[in-house]
Subunit: 541 residues, 2 copies
């Protein structure tokens, strides 16, 4: 036991040494001030050269346009983002490694291409992108947040399919980002790399997770577009905690070939890959490029469906109907979330031809019972085994999700079948519940005038203190239902207004637990965001 206990520490040291080695290869020193305020989002601009600061402040499309028109070289762009990623790493510990050699040599090729008067390589020409670490990169380690695989898993020969697609479109992978132990945390802490912190509240709060490395990196503009993954909130919660945009697409839209997880289609709750970005435009850019590559020709589980841009036309005839879930009837969100939602509703209510109605949540407690029963159908056995392999200890949120969660147990085949049928029935019922926001037209057999999208909190609070993010349902319900869900920034905490409520009555024990978390260190200052789930009309976005 002692030998293996030593083993994980050695692996972690090795992993961090490898990371530092890659950082050193950039050949610049990014000095971070010794004294930092809580909010470190302004630091990179202060420590980078003016040119690098300017390049990394551009929107994704601006970068692509400037690179394609030879106004900035891909090499300059890559250099600026490598530097800024190092700053982000020094501030939040968000990287598992950086890829300077690969990125620069790719940039040189792209630049040479334009010098030779060829057209830009593709719609992402010259755009640096970051990739969550469990998505394979050729000849690089693949660890999925655990120590043992970092050592024992064979390095992949080729990039994951999604990376191939981005690369062929002209994107340049420059950074790989952290993920938590087990990848089943809404925070981002592993024994391999430690804790990823929130750029809006350095040290104190979590970046959110599991795609917390992406969120912290993108919030600091060490990347403007990245790829995360989500099975219960892992794209949306960190996006919310760090004030960026994140999309959890429907299952079987974005290829997963070459990641370190179950084969596509074999999971009872499907983990999806999806984009995270500084802007909505970044998300759509990603989805468009991925769908245009027709990845279903390679990964047969994918649905052969082109990307369909939603063009919202507001008209008297067919107003846009938004359904608001104020809270999920289990846990009431903290004051800043409730205020943000109210302000959002006030704002959109004044837009002509937008209708806002309350959307009653449908059995979100049952949703969690089903989802949590299907996350680890082996009772966590495989995960415990991989931890035992290197002797690494269970971190608090791994312990909580695998061991303290009443849903998680070894299911027999009959129980598994039972929960799968529960899942399907819940999907049918929720769909019907949604339909009933409209009126049934007997002749067409369709429901008309149903709500077009739900607006609902991403989480019951803003960025969490470390080891406290235990209430997944605000996001996990949309994984169970397999609806696409978008997290987008709305505003920030206002300490003067968002004071802790004095509550005596609670909807549930979980509600009380969440209330206790409120204001324990008084509020941090991350932005908070709302969750936007899109209706059956756009279900496969």
């Amino acid at each position: 036991m002692k030998a293996s206990n030593k083993m994980w520490k050695q692996i972690a040291q090795e992993a961090q040494a490898l990371r530092d080695e890659t950082l050193a290869k950039v050949g610049v020193t990014i000095e971070i001030p010794a004294q930092l305020s809580r909010n470190v989002t302004d630091i990179p601009d202060r420590v980078l050269s003016a040119s690098s600061a300017r390049i990394t402040s551009l929107a994704p499309q601006e970068i692509i346009t400037l690179a394609s028109e030879r106004k900035i070289s891909a090499q300059q762009i890559v250099q600026a983002f490598l530097e800024r990623a190092i700053a982000a790493q020094n501030l939040t510990n968000c990287l598992t490694e950086i890829l300077p050699e690969r990125a620069i040599s790719q940039a040189i090729e792209l630049d040479a291409r334009l010098l030779g008067n060829s057209a830009p390589l593709g719609p992402l020409h010259g755009l640096p992108v970051s990739i969550k670490s469990h998505i394979g990169i050729a000849n690089r380690p693949l660890s999925s947040g655990y120590c043992a695989p970092f050592h024992s898993r064979q390095r992949p020969d080729t990039d994951a399919l999604v990376v191939q697609i981005l690369t062929r479109a002209g994107a340049i992978v420059h950074a790989r980002t952290t993920e938590p132990q087990s990848m089943m945390q809404l925070e981002c802490t592993s024994n391999l790399y430690g804790v990823t912190t929130n750029p809006y509240s350095n040290i104190l709060m979590s970046s959110g997770g599991s795609s917390g490395g992406e969120a912290a990196l993108i919030a600091l503009r060490g990347s403007v577009l990245g790829v995360g993954s989500d099975v219960g909130g892992s794209i949306r919660v960190p996006a919310a905690a760090c004030g960026i945009y994140g999309l959890k697409p429907t299952a079987f839209r974005v290829p997963t070939t070459g990641w370190s997880s179950t084969p596509p289609g074999a999971d009872p709750i499907v983990t999806v890959l999806g984009p995270m970005s500084v802007s909505l435009e970044g998300l759509e850019m990603f989805m468009r490029v991925v769908a245009a590559a027709e990845p279903w020709r390679i990964e047969p589980a994918l649905i052969p469906l082109p990307w369909r841009a939603v063009d919202i036309v507001l008209s008297r005839e067919k107003p846009l109907r938004l359904g608001i879930i104020w809270h999920d009837e289990v846990v009431k969100p903290h004051p800043p979330i409730m205020r943000a939602l109210k302000e959002f509703v006030n704002k959109v209510s004044n837009v002509p031809h937008v209708e806002v109605v309350d959307f009653p949540p449908y059995k979100h407690d049952e949703a969690w019972a089903i989802a949590s029963s299907l996350y680890f159908t082996d009772g966590g056995e495989a995960d415990l085994a991989v931890m035992a392999e290197s002797g690494e200890p269970l971190l608090p949120l791994t312990e909580w999700i695998i061991k303290d969660n009443p849903g998680v147990k070894l299911l027999d085949r009959g129980e598994l079948e039972y929960w799968l049928e529960e899942r399907e029935e819940f999907r049918m019922e929720y769909s019907q519940h949604w339909n009933e926001t409209g009126v049934f037209n007997r002749a067409s057999g369709n429901w008309e005038g149903t709500v077009d999208a739900i607006i609902c909190p991403v989480a019951p609070g803003v960025a969490t203190q470390h080891n406290t993010a235990k209430y997944w349902t605000y996001t996990a319900v949309w994984n169970l239902l397999d609806y696409p869900a978008l997290a987008f920034p709305v505003g920030k905490v206002d300490k003067a207004v968002d004071v802790k409520e004095n509550r005596k009555r609670f909807m549930s024990d979980l509600d009380k637990e969440n209330w206790k978390l409120c204001g324990r260190t008084d509020f941090p200052t991350p932005r908070y965001v709302l969750l936007n789930t899109i209706s059956t009309d756009f279900q496969s976005c």
Copy 2:
């Protein structure tokens, strides 16, 4: 035991009495000659009135057009098909009941609508359709081929969703068709209704199954369009045995809400509903109507994908490439099948801009190992229990699939997961194998010039003698892969040419077993058909 043994017989008597009662309600006597030749397909025209014979000889679109233009009333059409369905029942035992009251009252409504100068109800205005019995019809029993549920299962309040869609489009359900015990037979025999026979070889041969009632009824034109289901060949094998067209669509295209089976999405190998018809046109008509109804708004497991008609343009630039699977390397089909395939290939090889290449099958033995392990993950427990409930005996092919099949056993969760991963890996490998019929374009990341469709036998022989259809792989492999597959008629046995081969060497024991079946009673005269699976290009047809 004796009491329950009596129970299933009572239920069967009740079921048959109910069926006969509905037949009697049509109020005509269809006299079938006492002496019948083997091939009874000419009988209905001889026993029906000239008018009914003429109406039932029309193509689906002709019927709809004549009804919509008020050249024939829907009532006349329904009456003709009810009569012909009775003839088919008397010849092949293909019905579980007929629905004269419902069909006639619907026809009256449709006719009244046109008299009132309204437009036709929809694109299927006035078309009688038949429905396999495990697809629910309001207030009618729902048995899934077993005795007990006929009695104990509550009658549904509403039609299954697919029936609702067809009805709203103007179709009239006039007949319900037989299905075998367990529905997991490629023949069509149950304790409830007995044996459904093949109209091309009365008594001697099977109609194929499990959608054998549909196939026999449609071959005799007691219906020109019907709905069957398929998880291992159940649409295609009977279509082949009876010389009609049948389409197994991709999963999650046709709604299953309201059938008597697992909820959609909870099955490791997905059972699909699909059309069977006298013509290709009938199949496409069905798919077009179903997709246009956007059933994904009601059944969330469905893919929100419109029907995409495939328009094959033959050109020098992009010729149509057909890949031929001559045999699956496990079991060699009987001589008439091999001849038909050869003749088909000779024919299409002469068409300009059609290329024909051999397509090597990819591990079809492994495909069966995976599929058969996933068909009954409870080792058949639930099916055995439902049979025990009424005391009904296991019929030979039920016994074979549940008890004698090495793949069928109670899986534990780990084994289930293993086979699900095997399934996904097999899908990836087959997709790659298919891609390798083309050339990889590094720049686009796509395979170009791949085979567009595979042409392959539906089964290793023509219509089978009763209780001998045990080799599923020619069809089941496409269920495992979830590729759409179309069975279409090509020709008939020619006794002078299709003589049994004198074989001494076999590819496998199964090959030898299949060879022995050949010509045991010398060849019957059903048509045989080829299976056409469509490439990734059209994968979700």
